[in-house]
Subunit: 275 residues, 2 copies
């Protein structure tokens, strides 16, 4: 995987790669030095804190691509970061909207000690993953060792299944947040929720807000603002239906029906485990 | 590619696949019939307009994954839609944040007459694509035939290079919107801009708002609201720095410097063409 990883590191942070001052892949020290050196060009680079965090993002068949790609864009923009996109065997995964994603490492080759371990959600893909012992063992191992244990959307159910949310406040997609107590977690209906070193995001697009809050913590607010500006994240949704409280109730009822088999499956799974 | 395409169609619209009423891959007619039939279950399914639009989304090396994955999630949730993810040779592409994306068709096999043709942006990847004659010829051909010609972020520069924006109002990422007149387009600084059958979105995350507006047009507002709710798109950015007007000006200046070589390259490219 070394070639692929090298390729990843040089391609990472596409925008940063264009910055004449700080090529992507340069060490944090070099980057910081370059930043200081160029502060006279009318901008203050010293406000952008440098680092070299190791981040691993789980990929599995049936996952929701957007759950991962949103945070990956923002977190990957942190200069010096080492981004591990990890599937079980290091091979591409399918997603629930049909686009395939290519990882850059496997469970075996993923570093053991991470700054951030991240799990995306989905519907059927989450159920399959929760019942896959090898993946759950991997999530438990890397999660327990990681400085920050994180998820977006129904990814929190996978964290829960791995025993990582017991006694922690957490959130999930609005259709699944009430399932969290099955795993000993305390459900909170917020955009993202932090309890000690667990940070869980709401459904799908919540990954953007979630990731900005993590960047602010790791690299300071100016860095998070800079990534928000690069992503032009100045949301102007044409409708106001993004939560079950704000949406027309017909849509809410449709999804409750649609996800009934999902909810029942999770209940049954947990019942089986306890039996 | 037939096997891959079939696989895509069955995996498409992950959420819809879970709906007991309407399995993904079922025809629009079946879906509509099923929806009517189940309207008695306490929800009105008839408000969700069905269809079978053909959408092609361009993939190229160096593209920004999030530019495409946001709209792909939302547009792909339209039941019955046919989603073609198209790279030159049908092989996976690299992206500027290091994640690889797997297409499901090639230029040769992509249908000629599309309802929507979509082009994502990036930085270096856009420059390379604008100078790739085969890709520009493909964009021009499918664009001219398509009912809606669309882009997100710097993807509008690729449309411009293919001659598709002459005399049209359009937008782009905020660092590149002022380049649009080089291609005869009239730059407009809005989240997304429609002029006749051209719809262009702003930078990266603007693809979410852009896609919701397209769904509303094709399938009606209720369908767009339902997709917004599924994506839990109730944005709550922790900072207010998503546009050059709102952001601290240091960030704006840094990006202007960072993208100076990009801007100069586009000017040079156009100059060469005219010479």
């Amino acid at each position: 995987m070394d070639k692929i990883r090298r390729e990843l590191l040089t391609k990472m942070a596409g925008a940063a790669a264009m910055l004449p001052l700080v090529g992507a892949g340069s060490s944090a020290a070099t980057t910081a030095a370059a930043a200081q050196e160029h502060s006279h060009e009318g901008v203050d680079m010293s406000i952008y804190k440098m680092g070299s965090e190791k981040i691993a993002m789980l990929m599995y068949d049936g996952m929701t691509a957007l759950d991962l790609i949103g945070p990956q864009y923002l977190l990957g923009g942190m200069m010096g970061v080492q981004m591990y996109l990890v599937s079980k065997d290091g091979k591409p995964v399918t997603t629930d909207t049909g686009v395939g994603l290519v990882p850059n490492t496997s469970f075996d080759e993923c570093p053991k000690d991470l700054d951030i371990f991240f799990v995306p959600g989905s519907a059927q893909g989450v159920l399959d993953t929760m019942e896959d012992e090898e993946t759950i063992a991997f999530v438990k191992d890397r999660g327990e060792r990681a400085k920050l244990i994180t998820s977006v959307c129904t990814g929190s159910l996978i964290l829960g299944r791995a025993g990582l949310l017991e006694g922690y406040k957490a959130t999930s997609h609005w259709v699944s947040v009430d399932l969290l107590p099955l795993f000993g977690a305390i459900p909170v209906k917020e955009r993202y929720v932090r309890d000690r070193n667990r940070i869980t995001g709401g459904g799908v697009s919540a990954g953007l807000d979630f990731a900005l809050s993590i960047i602010a913590e790791l690299r300071g607010q100016p860095y998070a603002e800079a990534m928000q500006l690069l992503a032009e994240y100045d949301p102007q949704p044409p409708f106001n239906a993004g939560s079950p409280e704000k949406s027309p109730q017909n849509h809410v009822k449709v999804y409750r029906q649609m996800f009934k088999p999902f909810v029942e499956h999770v209940h049954k799974m947990v019942g089986k485990k306890q039996a």
